[in-house]
């Protein structure tokens, strides 16, 4: 088979085979992907995504002291626990009416920047890229590897690899140069994180009202010197990723269809601007737009809103295929937001979680994940937004809004320019990420190293400002507060892999209701009450298959690339292939793919 062979144009009688991959993920859930594949026409015909783990945070937090929320919710996630703590503190700060000192915001931003750099690096280089490494490409598309060996790497002057195949080799697990270096980098960046937030995974120094981190000159120089040790690695990563992903489009025409969805992206914003944020609900639009990653909902390439109040009011948590009892007949906790806008019964503020363990049934209920959707007021649709794995939505939303204008990062409306300073080997470099044509697997993956560069560039600015404050003797990092008898709050943030919100209701100084919505429920959700598939399901369903193996030795690399491109909430490998496929039925002319825009 040649690498440029065009895919069949005439439809053949379908040869349907059941294929599943379970277990896939571990962090927020045990993820399984169940598909039907038509090997005659080489496409995925159906996909279900299921999670088989329930833990119940929104249940056991009821009645607890609200100040404990950040410490507890950190434990939701073993890789981005700090994003939860931060988001919880944002929600609490709204509920308590407290604004942390500016320096605390810088310290939190620096911790979060280190987290993004760490987590995206280990995920991209040690897990995602295994799907594009030499060993994998050889096993799935030997023709592509042969071509990669003949193709010069266009950005070789930056990363130092001569051919595309050389880059692929550098990512071979355990042996490849870049694979090994990435593990080391992930330790250095975690040290940066610990300097700001104390411990990695579950931070120790974050509180509602600020941080306990002691600001001293070495707090910041220790961070800066580590950041500068990885700055060239970041520049090279961008260049290598661009080379390989551009090559894939060229070597496998039509690859843009892999994992392609209608453009339905959500970003809740990250990096507070300490000069603007006051955590009041009434001013949330203003300080939300001042964040250094701009929130936004993007539909079919258009920015629908970047107003966090609109974003908040549009949230809907649906059932349909999940193991829970509905709460729609309960009393609402919150009927109106602080501005008097009505709050829907399916909004997180009003949710009640009642788990009902039951048998998995793909025709009925099949997942512990619920189905978060965003209600589009103009069209009345309940949109299954995805996060593009985090970076794609963040960069897209920030670029389109055109609001970020800082010394190192500039959003231009259609692109983002990121400037990184001179490192040990490479000169000062300006990278430009442009809004892509598609929301697909390769673009989700490509956005990731650019966002690493983005986070590094923002860290430089936060360091400059924090050092300036420190040198002026302004070292306050914590502000006291009282927990009110009754209050509500919401926090919006970006976990590494995308949108994160926490909604909190306080009664009698206790938690009456608490609902964290991390990115994984958005991306991994099952079919909702309207039958709308979740993003993994939608992206995989109808996608073409380029792998050269047949049903007997099929690995599913194209499918796994798609699932992994969303960063399924884990640092672990998304594991492939469940065994020999079982031929189900042979039927004529399936009509799949029609729902893909």
């Amino acid at each position: 088979m040649t690498t440029t062979e065009s895919r069949p144009t005439e439809r053949k009688p379908a040869q349907l085979v059941d294929m599943s991959w379970d277990p896939i993920t571990r962090i927020i859930g045990n993820l399984g992907i169940y598909t039907k594949i038509d090997f005659a026409n080489r496409e995925v015909v159906e996909c279900h995504s299921t999670s088989s783990l329930f833990r119940g945070y929104s249940v056991f937090m009821k009645g607890k002291d609200p100040r404990d929320a950040g410490f507890i919710t950190s434990r939701i996630c073993g890789i981005c626990g700090d994003n939860h703590t931060t988001c919880s503190n944002y929600a609490q700060q709204m509920a308590y009416g407290v604004k942390p000192p500016k320096l605390a915001e810088h310290i939190t931003n620096l911790g979060e920047a280190a987290e993004y750099i760490f987590d995206h690096t280990i995920f991209q280089d040690n897990l995602v890229f295994v799907d594009f490494c030499e060993a994998m490409v050889k096993a799935t598309n030997p023709g592509v590897l042969a071509r990669a060996e003949r193709t010069a790497a266009p950005r070789g002057d930056i990363h130092g690899y001569r051919t595309i195949a050389d880059i692929m080799k550098a990512f071979n697990p355990f042996e490849g140069e870049v694979y090994k270096e990435a593990l080391k980098v992930s330790r250095i960046t975690r040290e940066m994180f610990c300097l700001m937030e104390g411990r990695h995974v579950h931070p120790s120094t974050l509180y509602p009202g600020g941080v306990g981190t002691m600001p001293q000159p070495n707090t910041f120089t220790d961070y800066l010197s580590r950041l500068m040790r990885v700055i060239d690695f970041i520049k090279k990563a961008v260049a290598m990723n661009d080379d390989v992903f551009d090559f894939f489009y060229e070597a496998l025409p039509g690859y843009e269809e892999v994992g392609k969805r209608r453009i339905l992206l959500g970003c809740w914003g990250a990096f507070q601007n300490p000069d603007v944020v006051d955590y009041r609900y009434a001013t949330m639009n203003e300080w939300g737009r001042a964040m250094y990653v701009t929130p936004g909902v993007i539909v079919d390439g258009q920015l629908v809103t970047n107003n966090l109040i609109d974003i908040n009011l549009g949230l809907r948590i649906m059932l349909g295929s999940s193991f829970y009892e509905d709460w729609v007949n309960e009393e609402p906790f919150v009927t109106h937001d602080p501005l008097g806008n009505p709050v829907d019964m399916r909004h997180p503020w009003n949710q009640t979680t009642v788990p009902v363990p039951q048998k998995r049934d793909f025709e009925g209920n099949y997942s512990w994940v619920m189905s978060p959707r965003w209600y589009h007021p103009a069209t009345g649709e309940h949109l299954a937004l995805d996060t593009g794995g985090g970076p794609l939505a963040r960069l897209w939303s920030t670029a389109l809004s055109g609001l970020v204008d800082t010394p190192y990062v500039k959003a231009t409306g259609g692109a983002i320019r990121i400037t990184l300073p001179r490192g040990e080997k490479l000169p000062e470099t300006t990278l430009e990420w442009r809004i892509p044509k598609w929301s697909n697997t390769l673009e989700r993956d490509r956005a990731r190293p650019y966002f690493i560069a983005y986070a590094a560039a923002m860290a430089l600015q936060f360091l400059d400002e924090a050092m300036g404050m420190l040198r002026n003797g302004d070292t306050k990092v914590y502000e006291n507060f009282e927990v009110p008898d009754e209050s509500i709050g919401c926090g919006f943030h970006e976990a590494v892999r995308g949108v994160l919100s926490h909604h909190l209701v306080i009664r009698d100084k206790k938690i009456a209701n608490y609902h964290p919505y991390p990115p994984t429920p958005w991306n991994a959700s099952p079919r909702d009450i309207y039958g709308t598939p979740g993003p993994y399901e939608d992206a995989v369903q109808g996608q073409p298959i380029f792998e050269e193996n047949g049903p007997d030795d099929f690995k599913g690399v194209d499918i796994m690339r798609t699932v992994r491109s969303f960063d399924p909430c884990l640092p672990c490998g998304v594991h492939m292939y469940m065994g020999k496929g079982k031929t189900l039925t042979t039927v004529h002319s399936p009509t799949y793919g029609a729902n893909h825009g």
Binding site: K62, E325, Y478
Partner: protein, 362 residues
């Protein structure tokens, strides 16, 4: 590898310090499908002393060859291919192996019908989810050693807190505190939420050296924790202890002084993190401005909540610190005993006793 006047002879097998009995090769079967966040696996990859790659690549002398089966690090294709060694071990065809469990163990006995709280792959015959509990029942009796990684697996942890709906518990609660693996070792508990990376690697290395026949069993305390790691209190390793001694206390989190009045439980918690730092000596808890919330303890989290308030008895002890040192030590010993026990409602019986009420709105 030996070196003789400029020439290097590379041997097929790594050299070992001495001849001894023990295994040459051992498999680690790691299951993180307990109720967990997988933070222990993530933490493990932060360890540099030694790093997991060094152990797996045979760079630490005196260890058997280690086959690590963990989804983070496995180059396997996954699914049934990934599960193959677990299935072989359950059939008795893979020996010896160390079973590592991450996450708390849910109580399946409180579920009526076919549901499940957590599963790990599917039953090969039925295609239905295979529960964590079934895997433990199959694997633990055959394991050479059983290690619980993190506070969830050791004592139940955050998911076993009051009001939880899953009735989950720690591994020793599930297997029985008198459980013995084939080696004669009880469950080896390495608490921490998450594990401090080096604490875990050190314990693993000791267990592996023991497996190789080159070391005695690791010394464990009454809660089955490695003594050398958990024998001292947080307070005994804290940078801020001198302030405590002078009764000089932080009033809020802006201060470098002792944090006992703003929620630190250091005096009664067994943990070495302030002394050791979080990774490579960097970070930690009270030493860098985080209160100790007792995350390594059997009674975590309930006994330590609300976290940001002064621990009960803190006022007394801070008032009388200097004149009554001996009394304080005794009082503190009592509190330490109290927080060193798990709540009794963590068990595997047919009843949920966590206080969960599904219709709590009313």
């Amino acid at each position: 590898m030996t070196t003789q006047s400029g020439t290097t002879e590379v041997q097929g097998e790594p050299s070992r310090a001495e001849a001894r009995e023990g295994f040459d090769e051992i498999t680690i079967l790691w299951i993180s499908e307990g109720m967990s966040c997988d933070g222990d696996t993530v933490s493990l990859t932060a360890a540099g002393q030694p790093s997991i790659e060094d152990v797996v690549l045979g760079l630490i002398p005196g260890l058997p060859k280690v086959n690590l089966v963990n989804k983070v690090l496995s180059p396997s294709l996954g699914g049934e291919d990934f599960l193959a060694p677990y299935r072989a071990a359950a059939r008795g065809e893979l020996e010896p192996f160390i079973l590592v469990i991450e996450g708390s163990i849910p109580n399946q006995n409180i579920i009526e019908g076919d549901g499940y709280w957590t599963s790990f792959g599917n039953h090969p015959d039925t295609g239905e989810p295979q529960t964590l509990n079934e895997w433990i029942d199959d694997l633990a009796p055959r394991a050479w050693a059983v290690v619980a990684a993190g506070t969830c697996a050791t004592f139940g942890g955050i998911h076993a807190m009051a009001g939880n709906p899953t009735g989950c518990m720690g591994l020793a609660d599930y297997l029985g505190w008198d459980f013995k693996a084939r080696s004669g070792l009880p469950v080896v508990n390495v608490p921490g939420c998450p594990i401090q990376p080096e604490n875990f690697m050190e314990t693993l290395v000791w267990v592996l050296q023991h497996a190789a026949g080159g070391a005695p069993p690791p010394p464990l305390d009454h809660m089955l924790r490695p003594q050398w790691l958990f024998g001292k209190t947080v307070h005994e390793g804290c940078d801020r202890a001198a302030y405590y001694e002078q009764a000089d206390f932080a009033r809020d989190y802006n201060s470098p002084k002792c944090q006992v009045k703003v929620g630190c439980w250091g005096p009664v918690v067994n943990c070495n993190v302030p002394k050791r730092g979080w990774m490579a000596g960097i970070g930690g808890c009270p030493n860098v401005g985080g209160i100790c919330i007792g995350c390594t303890m059997p009674s975590f989290p309930d006994a330590f909540m609300p976290f940001m308030d002064e621990p009960p008895g803190g006022t007394l002890s801070t008032m009388v610190i200097r004149p009554y040192g001996a009394v304080i030590r005794r009082l503190r010993g009592l509190t330490n005993d109290m927080v060193n026990h798990e709540p009794r409602w963590r068990h595997n019986k047919r009843k949920l006793t966590s206080g969960y009420d599904p219709h709590w709105r009313a």
